[in-house]
Symmetry: C2
Subunit: 257 residues, 2 copies
């Protein structure tokens, strides 16, 4: 008796022609039936944005042979919603993988990341979901050293599932010699922004967002620590953002309304 191959939805935020998604779909082809739904243009930094004020384009495309692919004019989260509704038509895929992102999505970057927000949306749809990111922001990034980890982690999630309401955020150090996997927590860190002010030809100022990533977290159980020590970090993520520990404190306040 043969079991049918698992259905695997592949998404990203760098766009359907980014090298990172090619590595991911090739890795997933070995373990399942792959369907790609990805943005038609780069969507880095789009976080959990959805397209509400304008309509979406959504087209079947033929970029790589033997892979069912769709491009979408919207955000990574739009891609997941379109995949669930228009491609899988309610019959959920067995796995949703997002990436491999050109650049880290560790720590607080999960909030800004289209890659991770697509995986979060997969989890909201009760699909076991994983986001993958590499510490190399270039289009020429070499993802080859990640692939055995990607396949192993995806295989384990297909086999074991994930607790309800959770997904995985996986980040890789650049280059070969990845020491192994560290299950981690999101480091307490932030970006210290700088805005690069320039003048346009009409003498009006404009600003480029730049910044420096600053970790304020000395813990050895964080994703920042794991990556600095050349481990792949795996952070279990939840989309319940309630600060449950703060509920008793707030209940002790007296509101005069």
């Amino acid at each position: 008796m043969t079991k049918s191959k698992p259905a695997i939805l592949v998404v990203n935020d760098d766009g359907i022609t980014a090298p990172g998604i090619k590595y991911l779909m090739d890795a997933m082809k070995d373990i399942g039936r792959v369907v790609v739904v990805a943005p038609d243009s780069p969507q880095s930094g789009m976080g959990h944005a959805i397209t509400v004020g304008k309509p979406l384009r959504f087209d079947k495309v033929d970029i790589y042979p033997d892979i069912e692919m769709y491009s979408c004019s919207g955000t990574p989260v739009d891609c997941v919603k379109l995949a669930v509704n228009k491609v899988f038509k309610g019959k959920k895929p067995d796995l949703c993988v997002s990436g491999i992102n050109h650049g880290l999505n560790n720590s607080i970057n999960i909030l800004y990341s289209g890659t991770m927000s697509a995986a979060v949306e997969g989890a909201i749809e009760s699909i076991p979901s994983i986001g993958f990111s590499l510490d190399d922001y270039t289009l020429q990034a070499d993802f080859s050293h990640c692939i055995r980890f990607v396949k192993e982690i995806a295989g384990q999630v297909l086999q074991n599932g994930l607790p309800a309401g959770t997904l995985l955020n996986v980040n890789f150090p650049a280059g070969p010699h990845i020491k192994g996997i560290k299950i981690s927590r999101q480091a307490n860190a932030k970006w210290a922004e700088e805005f690069d002010e320039r003048m346009d030809p009409y003498k009006r100022p404009y600003y480029w967002l730049t910044g420096v990533f600053q970790s304020n977290d000395g813990g050895e159980d964080t994703d920042v620590w794991a990556l600095e020590h050349r481990y792949a970090s795996v952070v279990p993520v939840q989309f319940d953002m309630t600060a449950h520990h703060a509920i008793p404190l707030l209940n002790s306040w007296t509101f005069n309304v």
Copy 2:
């Protein structure tokens, strides 16, 4: 001895001319020195998006008398980053309030909401932060019944502070007769999407995202329950998205890499 008035940053996602932000800045004028930094156009559904692929416009504007106001071409989160870096120049405001949003941001909507993401960004910057939203999506929404709650909650946060890494998500039922405040948790719910397919004049399809909000959560301690029973819901929120409870489980997995 007089204490100087607290500095209050007011942001939103419906845009600098939306009625909701006018109500909020008027309420805050009574308790502090108000600075408004808001998007120059509606940014609903932008989640935690930031502008990385193009530059930003950022201009001092003179819409309402006696209020220091800036408009920004970017997202709600961009507004907070610009406020911290270009307006307050590192000397953080005492409070960041976002809204009042035209429409609910309860439950899972916190992830899609520009209003709430601006408040989350405030909290990342260690500013006590609150997002306010009303269950009325129209531009003609009547925010007057919320104002005494808005002032009371903002006053309490200014007085007591909030635990590190947390912020508040406040939602109001529409209309008068708000029974009181319920400290709540984020309900377990999701949107069941439908895409409204149409044909453009050139015979190419396009899609409008629509959907139905579905709560799968029978709890009486949720924001959905509180709003249905005509309470203002106050959910303490954290931006650490780690599913800490899932770490032991993942550590029990054996990865063959």
